[in-house]
Symmetry: C2
Amino acid sequence: MGKSTFIDAFGSNLTKLGNRVAVLAVDPSSGRSGGSILGDKTRMERLAVDEQAFIRPSPSAGVLGGVGRATRETMLLCEAAGYDVILVETVGAGQSEYMVADMVDVFLVLMLPGAGDELQGIKKGILEIADILAVNKADQDAGKARRAARDYASALHIMTAGDAAWKPPVLTVSGLQNQGLDALWETMEKHRHVMVEAGLFDQRRQDQRVKWMWAMVEDRLLTRFRNHEEVRRLLLGLESDVRNDRKTATQAAEDLLSAFGMGDLG
Amino acid sequence: MGKSTFIDAFGSNLTKLGNRVAVLAVDPSSGRSGGSILGDKTRMERLAVDEQAFIRPSPSAGVLGGVGRATRETMLLCEAAGYDVILVETVGAGQSEYMVADMVDVFLVLMLPGAGDELQGIKKGILEIADILAVNKADQDAGKARRAARDYASALHIMTAGDAAWKPPVLTVSGLQNQGLDALWETMEKHRHVMVEAGLFDQRRQDQRVKWMWAMVEDRLLTRFRNHEEVRRLLLGLESDVRNDRKTATQAAEDLLSAFGMGDLG
């Protein structure tokens, strides 16, 4: 994917423009794999020694909610500490993208070039949360990258409302060759401008804060539920019963809620 | 959209083939609007008087969870009562599609023809849960319908894994003229055959049951939380504080959880 190379080049361009840049990583798997995959300083050679940059690997909190919370709080701290640009990096798996999309002002999806079958099977839902899409490694085969960009653009076109204030553009870039990264930053600045003008910039942040509050409430309620001793004791058998149709989903839910002290499914 | 006309023709074809057909509607708005929009028998002239068919309008339970639960239980009853085909109709808004997609063996998305800008802004995420897509009203402008089908097909192509057992096809149909409905039913039967062969048919039903159990548990926990007297008293002020950045989302979540008796956000 070349993500570290991309961030190294993109972030270095930004510090040269006079910005203080923070790079935060969200990778719920990093705890399990024992080592951090994202935010690897050794793979960001220039940013790692750049005094205007701060790189924080993913917290190894294990659960997505914990990693997300730690990241969101670090973001707020970085903002308060005067960082101008905060790049939040995430893995292309699980639910981490949705969480990150709910934290940031602009969500960039970095893709690899490819065509036909190679294009297929991109992560479901990812095109829908993209504000900007960039096809990386355009240096290797410019024609292939342009064809991929065109195909993504037509898919995005179908999924974007005709009257949307912002229509996600598709760019081609090369992190390795530092190609198209200035244009990408200009596009991000344009996105911000368009969102501010449409009154959507603040609204998005406000909505994100409320959504985050509810996400934490739900996370806590479900964690309490799942960790409840009697619920845990029943769960394995009930899930198996429901899976194999020995018990209805409704009855099993009622059993679990009763065990938790919230019975009588209305 | 011509959905009632489509269901009337499609369902009548199925009863003529010897099937007993049930039509259930899921429309969480039907309670609020005072009358049922979906499952309107007067708009399904043939099925309404067909002894092999049963039409049930949307329950006006108001909340999606309640409507969904009632529908799911009616589905199980219809299955037990010997209905061969159960059509579950939903509105093109809100979250009802996702709920219905988690209840059925095959999810058909019915679209209108159109091109360019008209294609844009289809409901986000809907292409991703589609097993089959059909462009309706193909009788009015066959060329337009074919172009729309081709555009949808290319978008679906990008979103489908190359090794997927089933790749969602796009058909053109006309409910009014009863065109393409036999081919649609054949495609649905083919889908079932492919899923069974791949071992995915039962797996999907098993996963749906477990998912449904958890959906009911979550629904109940959040309803309890939202209806809790002290939570309700605090909520309006806290949401406003979080929205306007007078209080952090974390602090507000903690306040609400404390009020609910589950404080000490870990």
